[in-house]
């Protein structure tokens, strides 16, 4: 009964989103204020109904209702409750339902927080958002209905793919979807602006918080996915340049570019056309990602059950929305007047440079991801484009960008002074060089060439705070005034500094693990001790056991250095009962603050007690994810800046502007 209710709610959601699409659009054409005013209510109603549908599916999973095909195929009665719930989106149908729920959620958020939007723009945005919801609701109902029943109902389910039964997966897809789908709002704003033919600095002000929210979630989602792949797949890698990973990375790159170009548009009314295009592209890449993942046209280390019909349907959605919005863009872009001119050396110039490198890098990733498809279609030759290509093309494009990052915030709008900015960065340069050389020569004995890469990472981390440091003016004003000034800085300044520093921390982790990583594969007998990367690993025992829905063999290893025990790791080989599928659980011991010792079990060697063990030494690897945590925190801090807060009361904003004006009136230096 509840399952049928869920199905019915989904159909109702389709009907409501159709209304959400059509009614405001007619209102815009006929200038009917009442039809415009109904858009927010329709949007909220769509969200509520889709939420009911999602809750019904969750209910079917929690109660293990195997008469529902989707539950039967992906759940198991002995599975822990947490994984029953996460199983809802651990499969194609459920994850598409989550996608729609997120779409409807963002629409409802605009309806709820968008009180200060002009009513026509708001109605247009919600209408476009509704059209996306319509497309995906049709997709689910026609090709991937999660509420399909089985008759007679089976007694037991087939269980969720075991590698997906993990807390990382519980969080990763919802975060990723909030990011992916969040760009739909930017897209809706862009298309609405094109339809309305009105684009100004205020538009950028409305769009920026949504971009920032999506970017924060996407950053967190990608980072979570990377960490999940690292510890769960047991391959010791944190990024594979896999098509599915690229599918999430491309919207991130474009979203990052959008974040920066919207800044120019908001502050200087420049780069309007470009910003609109980026807003369209960010969501287009999200759609492309969905197509690549769902259609299975590309071979990926992530898994894929594929259905040509589904792929075709998503391709049609893709063509309609990307093609339609680009045609609209081509028709209307000419009518948009670009604002302020600027000197190439200026804040605007730096942000143009940022956009140039980010979009070019995205293009190289896109080419590499799609090239195998093209080659196979043209010549029939099967090729794969992997990490060598991406490292070869992507890294050279990132190096100049990363080098330029600390300069950006130091340049003034309109016309900047490069020499003055460089002068302020000499201390940063000195610190990063010394730190890099110290690491390369003294601590790790790494190749001297890698010193450059370390220097780049420190340059980013230290240089990101140059702007904040300079604004505080400790040297000139003394400590107490400096502190007071630091506290008085707008949160957005802190956000910028921290986000750039987070990027530097991630870079440092990548450089560290890439240049200093070590690994070995060996056979070990219980009781044996081996020495690797300066640590001693003792293989104590291999013991079998039983978990809730799996059996396991657990190896127990003690890691020590110079006789001092650092920790015990317990890597496992599991076999899941329902699917008879084996998985590997890596044993990970963090050494010091950021480095990790990573053990994975291989197969037992026949005719002996030996087992194959693969050991990695991963210096500084956790910095990669700590850096993204800093980036996410930076995004949230920026978001909490009063100037950006959505729906901040107008009065409060006016007060703040008056205070700012008063502050400006005082002599700054």
């Amino acid at each position: 009964m509840i399952v049928e209710l869920g199905h019915y709610a989904l159909v109702l959601g389709l009907a409501l989103s159709l209304a959400q699409m059509i009614v405001p659009m007619i209102g815009l054409r006929t200038n009917n204020a009442r039809m415009l005013a109904v858009a927010p209510s329709l949007t909220v109603a769509t969200f509520l109904v889709v939420a009911v549908s999602f809750a019904a599916l969750t209910w079917a999973y929690v109660t293990s209702d195997f008469s529902v095909r989707n539950v039967w195929a992906n759940s198991f009665s002995d599975k822990p409750l947490l994984f029953k719930i996460t199983g809802v989106w651990g499969n194609h149908e459920g994850s598409m339902l989550l996608w729609i729920l997120t779409l409807a959620l963002f629409g409802a958020l605009v309806a709820f927080f968008g009180g200060n939007l002009p009513s026509r723009l708001k109605a247009a945005v919600l209408s476009v958002q509704g059209s996306v919801t319509v497309a995906f609701a049709l997709f689910i109902l026609l090709t991937s209905n999660p509420f399909e029943r089985l008759s007679p109902p089976p007694l037991e389910g087939r269980d969720l793919n075991p590698i997906l039964q993990d807390i990382g997966l519980a969080i990763h897809p919802p975060l990723l979807y909030l990011g992916y789908v969040g760009f739909s709002i930017c897209f809706s704003f862009a298309v609405a602006a094109l339809i309305e033919g009105r684009i100004d600095a205020a538009w950028a002000r409305w769009v920026r918080p949504w971009t920032l929210v999506s970017w924060v979630f996407l950053t967190a989602g990608i980072s979570m996915g990377s960490y999940w792949a690292y510890y769960e797949l047991g391959w010791g890698g944190w990024w594979f340049w896999d098509p599915v990973e690229n599918a999430s990375f491309m919207p991130w790159l474009i979203g990052t570019a959008l974040l920066h170009s919207a800044l120019v548009m908001e502050k200087r009314e420049a780069m309007k056309v470009w910003t609109i295009l980026l807003a369209i592209l960010a969501f287009s890449f999200s759609l492309l990602g969905t197509f690549l993942v769902r259609s299975g046209v590309l071979t990926s280390v992530h898994s894929f059950a594929t259905d040509p019909q589904r792929g075709l349907f998503i391709l049609m959605i893709l063509v309609f929305f990307i093609g339609g919005s680009l045609i609209l863009f081509a028709l209307r872009a000419g009518t948009l007047r670009n604002g302020g001119m600027f000197h190439p050396v200026s804040r605007e110039g730096a942000l143009v440079l940022n956009n140039l490198f980010l979009t070019t890098a995205t293009a190289t990733v896109l080419v590499g991801t799609l090239y195998p498809l093209l080659v196979e279609a043209v010549s029939g030759e099967k090729i794969s484009v992997g990490a060598p290509y991406f490292n070869y093309t992507f890294i050279p494009l990132m190096i100049p960008l990363l080098m330029a990052v600390p300069f950006g915030p130091l340049l003034a709008w309109k016309r900047g002074n490069l020499a003055a900015a460089a002068e302020r960065l000499w201390l940063t340069a000195a610190i990063s060089l010394v730190a890099a050389l110290a690491i390369a020569w003294l601590i790790y004995d790494a190749p001297v060439l890698s010193a450059f890469a370390y220097a780049l990472a420190f340059w980013l981390i230290v240089g990101s705070f140059a702007d904040v440091w300079q604004k505080a003016g400790f040297v000139k004003n003394g400590w107490s005034t400096g502190w007071a000034r630091l506290k008085g800085l707008p949160r957005a300044s802190w956000g910028t500094a921290l986000a750039h520093a987070g990027l530097g921390i991630t870079t440092l982790g990548i450089v560290g693990v890439t240049t200093l990583e070590d690994e070995t594969v060996l056979r070990m007998t219980p009781g044996e001790t081996t020495s690797f990367a300066g640590y001693d690993v003792e293989f104590n025992s291999l013991t079998p056991g039983k978990g809730p829905n799996f059996t396991y063999d657990k190896g127990i290893f003690t890691i020590s250095r110079d006789g001092r025990v650092i920790g015990t790791v317990e890597p496992e080989k599991r076999v899941y009962v329902a699917s008879r599928m084996p998985t590997t659980e890596a044993g990970i011991q963090t050494v010091g603050l950021f480095s990790q010792y990573y053990l994975a079990l291989g197969d037992a060697v026949e005719g002996s007690e030996d087992i194959v063990v693969r050991i990695w030494w991963k210096p500084w690897v956790t910095l990669i994810w700590y850096g993204t945590v800093v980036m996410v925190a930076a995004g949230l801090i920026s978001l909490s800046d009063r100037r950006l807060r959505i729906g901040a009361p107008v009065a409060a904003r006016r007060r703040r502007q008056e205070a700012l004006a008063a502050a400006r009136a005082e002599p700054a230096e």
Binding site: R69, N74, R158, H172, S303, A305, A361, V385, P388, Y392
Partner: protein, 157 residues
């Protein structure tokens, strides 16, 4: 700087970056890609130059061929309808690696005709074969279809 010069500076730098990127992409795509080969491709190619560089070798793992060597490396053979190639791999085999199952090994072909793999891929989902392997077997007319008639569990992420 005049308006014209400013515009020129921006366009020029954009073209420089794009040009550099295009050069990188073109050389990258000609030198850094990995070609897919079946055992038959490898055995039957006349010139050795076709099998130079990184390759992906795909086929079925020969029953009874998997053995662990003293240095913990694994040796096994990959076959298709006509031929088999011996593969040496130092690392841990993926969880779903089984004899008789379709896998892809990535690495280089050695002068002695064996294959040295640095990566071995099997699917996360046991009902599936790597797509290239399935296609290659279909071409050779030995594809038997999915192992069971059940609806395959879809499992992304």
């Amino acid at each position: 700087m005049t308006r014209k010069q400013k515009r020129f500076a921006v366009i020029f730098s954009a073209l420089a970056v794009l040009g550099g990127a295009v050069a990188l992409v073109l050389t990258g795509l000609s030198e850094q890609v990995t070609f897919f080969r079946t055992p038959t491709d490898i055995v039957s190619t006349a010139s050795a130059s076709e099998n130079e560089g990184r390759l992906r070798l795909g086929g079925l793992v020969v029953m009874g061929s998997v053995e662990t060597l003293d240095d913990a490396a694994v040796r096994f053979a990959i076959e298709d309808a006509n031929h088999a190639v011996t593969v040496r791999y130092a690392g841990i085999l993926p969880d779903l690696f089984r004899e008789g199952q379709g896998i892809v090994a990535e690495g280089t072909l050695q002068p002695d005709g064996t294959f040295r793999a640095d990566t071995v891929l099997a699917k996360h989902d046991e009902t599936y074969m790597p797509r290239e392997v399935a296609d290659a077997l279909k071409e050779q007319g030995v594809w038997k279809g999915e192992a069971s008639g059940e609806t395959p569990a879809s499992s992304d992420y």
